[in-house]
Symmetry: C2
DNA sequence: CTAGACCTTGCCGTCGATGTCAAGGCAAGG
DNA sequence: CCTTGCCTTGACATCGACGGCAAGGTCTAG
C-alpha cells in the first residue's frame, strides 16, 4: 500500500502521514524506487493516532499507544505507559472541566448583571420623560 | 505614566502593552521625546483586558469591552456589543463543556477497560503456573 | 513520446500572545 | 563625559499539526 492509498483509507492526507513519520509514529518500508510502502497493520496504527488526536491528545502522548499496538496487543490502551497517559489525561480533563465550570459561572454572572443593568437603565428612561 | 510604570502596575510587560496598542486596544499619547504617556483610565482598561484574557477571550473579543469602558461606562460589560460577545462566549463555553464531558467519559471508560484487561491477564497468569 | 497521476524532499505559512534580541535615542547623576 | 536606566522601532522565535508549493523522479496508458 502506498502513501496515497493509506491516507485515503485512514481519512487523512499523505502530508500528514509523512509528518507522523517524522514524529516516529509510523514506519513504512521503502520500495526500490524510494516510495513508502505500508502494510495493513499501519492502517490500524493510523486509526489509533487519529482517534486519540480527536480526543485532544498530542502526538507525544500518542507514542506509547502506537508502541503498544506494535508490541502485538489488540488494544493500544493496555500497556502500562498507555495507562499512565490515560490517567494523566483524565486528570487534565478533570482539571480543565473544573476551570471551565468556573469560567462558565463567571460569564453567566457577568451576563446576568449586564442585562440587569440595562433593564434598570431602560426602566428609568421610560419613567422619566413627559 | 510611562509604559514601564503602567506595565508594572497592571502586572504585565511593556512589550505586551505595545502589542495591545498595535491591536487598537490601548491608545497612549506621546510626549515630546516620543515616549508613550498613559493616563489613569488606561490602567483600568488594561486590567479589563487582562481579566478577559484570563477567562479565555481573544483580543478581538475584548475590543467591545474596551470601547464600552472608553464610552464612559463604569463596567465594560453593559454595552450591547459586549453583551453579544458574552452571550457568544457563554455558548462556546457550554459547547466546549459538553464536548469535554464526552471526552472525559470516553477516557474514563478506556482507562477502566484497560485496567480490567490487565487485571484479567494478571489473574490468568497467577492461575496457570505450577 | 507524452500526458497525467502518482511519488519524493524541503521549506515557508498558519494562529495568538507574547519573549527576546538588536540598535539606537533620551534623561539624569557623578 | 560616561554610565545607568529608561524609552523607541523592528524583526525573529515560540508551540502543534499540519497545508501548500516548488522542483523533480517514477510509472502507466495511449
Amino acid at each position: 500500500m502506498l502513501i496515497g492509498e493509506l491516507a485515503e483509507r485512514a481519512g487523512t492526507s499523505p502530508r500528514t502521514l509523512r509528518y507522523y513519520e517524522t514524529q516516529g509514529l509510523v514506519r513504512p518500508q521503502r520500495s526500490a524506487n524510494g516510495y513508502r510502502v505500508y502494510d495493513e497493520a499501519e492502517l490500524r496504527v493510523v486509526h489509533e493516532i487519529r482517534a486519540l488526536l480527536a480526543v485532544g491528545f498530542g502526538l507525544d502522548d500518542i507514542r506509547p499507544f502506537v508502541a503498544c499496538l506494535r508490541a502485538g496487543h489488540s488494544s493500544g490502551d493496555v500497556c502500562p505507559d498507555s495507562v499512565a497517559v490515560l490517567r494523566r489525561k483524565l486528570a487534565e480533563v478533570d482539571a480543565y472541566l473544573d476551570r471551565l465550570g468556573g469560567v462558565r459561572r463567571q460569564l453567566h454572572d457577568q451576563l446576568t448583571q449586564a442585562i440587569a443593568h440595562r433593564e434598570e437603565r431602560c426602566l428609568r428612561r421610560r419613567g422619566l420623560p413627559r
